[in-house]
């Protein structure tokens, strides 16, 4: 399979990239690592006559801590993030990166790309929604920040305007007593998750002081539920209370039936994932150093 013909552009600076994107408007497609964009182009999903390869832009490939924030450049690969000691300060981040697809895809795929594609089954849009992540973008009108909660708007649709691209992701480093986890159910390493769940919990003693649950592959955008989060606050976090919260958030989910599973199967799996991710987040909030993995069929 070949992509349809396109003109190829490889800008050397962010300013040049933004200039090209502004010039070509909707005719342009941005490629970073290409791990989503190339399969989509081969399947002829969408037309783009101008391919802007931002993969070699300087100074966008880093993972570092500044003050109380974890900063990740848009061109940091999943492999780089998975291997980063700094990323482990927010365990959900390292865990997400290390579980995406397989080693080959993680070598090339980038966090900025994974976010911007906004595939409903994609890992980054789901897992970053469990945190108070902020997306920094650059565009013809200058730079701005977008809260993660506002970033994904629909299937393959983000808050990015024409000509804008993600430059970095900022994640607050949680205080002690907070733990996070991300678990996906996958048919195989190379496959997109069937469904997934991200959790961040803050504990005061035995009692939960704040919670955020998010489901992936469960609708066009990451699914959040204030009711489910509230149900955990003030409670002990146990399999029972997590299951109660899971019932509430899964009620808000609309997983599409497809080759990966029926609606009933996905709902049942999501409930299991909430409990598993919740228990892992709880253990981490208590200071346990655990490295989790995904569930495989």
């Amino acid at each position: 399979m070949y992509p349809a013909p396109f003109r190829y552009h490889r800008p050397e600076t962010l300013e040049a990239a933004v200039g090209l994107l502004a010039h070509f408007g909707d005719d342009a497609r941005i490629m970073a690592g290409g791990q989503s964009v190339i399969p989509m182009m081969k399947l002829r999903m969408g037309e783009a006559s101008e391919l802007v390869d931002i993969g070699r832009l300087p100074n966008l490939s880093y993972v570092k801590i500044e003050g109380e924030r974890l900063l990740i450049g848009a061109l940091a690969t999943h492999a780089m993030i998975a291997a980063s000691e700094d990323a482990r300060r927010v365990p959900l981040v390292a865990e997400t990166a290390g579980g995406i697809a397989d080693r080959q895809v993680r070598s090339m795929g980038t966090i900025g790309g994974g976010l911007s594609v906004a595939d409903p089954s994609g890992c980054w849009p789901t897992s970053l929604s469990a945190l108070d992540a902020v997306i920094q973008v650059a565009g013809p009108a200058g730079s701005r920040s977008i809260a993660m909660a506002d970033f994904v708007q629909d299937t393959y649709l983000t808050a990015l305007n024409t000509g804008e691209l993600v430059t970095s992701i900022e994640i607050p480093i949680p205080e002690s007593g907070t733990g996070s986890a991300y678990v996906a159910f996958k048919r195989s390493a190379s496959a997109y998750p069937t469904v997934s769940c991200g959790v961040q919990l803050s504990m005061q003693g035995d009692s939960c002081s704040a919670a955020r649950l998010v489901l992936g592959g469960a609708g066009p955008t990451p699914i959040l539920s204030v009711e489910a989060d509230s149900a955990l606050v003030g409670e002990q976090v146990t399999a029972e209370t997590l299951l109660k919260a899971a019932e509430l958030i899964v009620a808000a989910a609309e997983p599409p039936p497809d080759a990966r599973g029926s609606v009933e199967f996905k709902r049942a799996m999501l409930k299991n994932l909430v409990v598993e991710a919740g228990q892992r987040a709880l253990a981490r909030s208590q200071g346990e150093q655990i490295f989790g993995g995904h569930r495989y069929a």
Binding site: M1, P5, F6, I38, S190
Partner: protein, 162 residues
Amino acid sequence: MHEQAPKVVVDINVNGASYQREIEPRLLLVEFIREELGLTGTHIGCDTSYCGACTIILEGNVVKSCTLLAVQADGRKVETVEGLESGGELHPLQTAFSEHHGLQCGYCTPGMLMSAKSLLDNNPQPTEEQIRKGISGNTCRCTGYVNIVKAIDAAAVQMWEG
């Protein structure tokens, strides 16, 4: 866009030799390797970034060459299965795959070898679980992976102990 796209000139180092070619930007790296250079050891399996038959090493990183444009490798170093042997001597991984029957039909083998090489380059003494994770992006429909894992383990021991 239906007219011919302007071609681009790339210079890609494959197994130590430099190749300059004028190509269509949409040419996939795997096609560049197979069609432009005639190195047909790298296979096209699923052509959808799933099976890993097309796995090669780019600048030390294991990648799926059906999911890269050749232009992404411009100015960079590529290793393919043809680069494993040196001076007519098989690489220890190739010998181990042969000795442990780490293949049946052999279609996935070039990709398996490259994933295994990258694994051992980065982790010379992997556990069985690390070997299995190291080849989790490579699909084999014949062997059930048992002999592939054995072969990689044997090669690791051989390369470590010399």
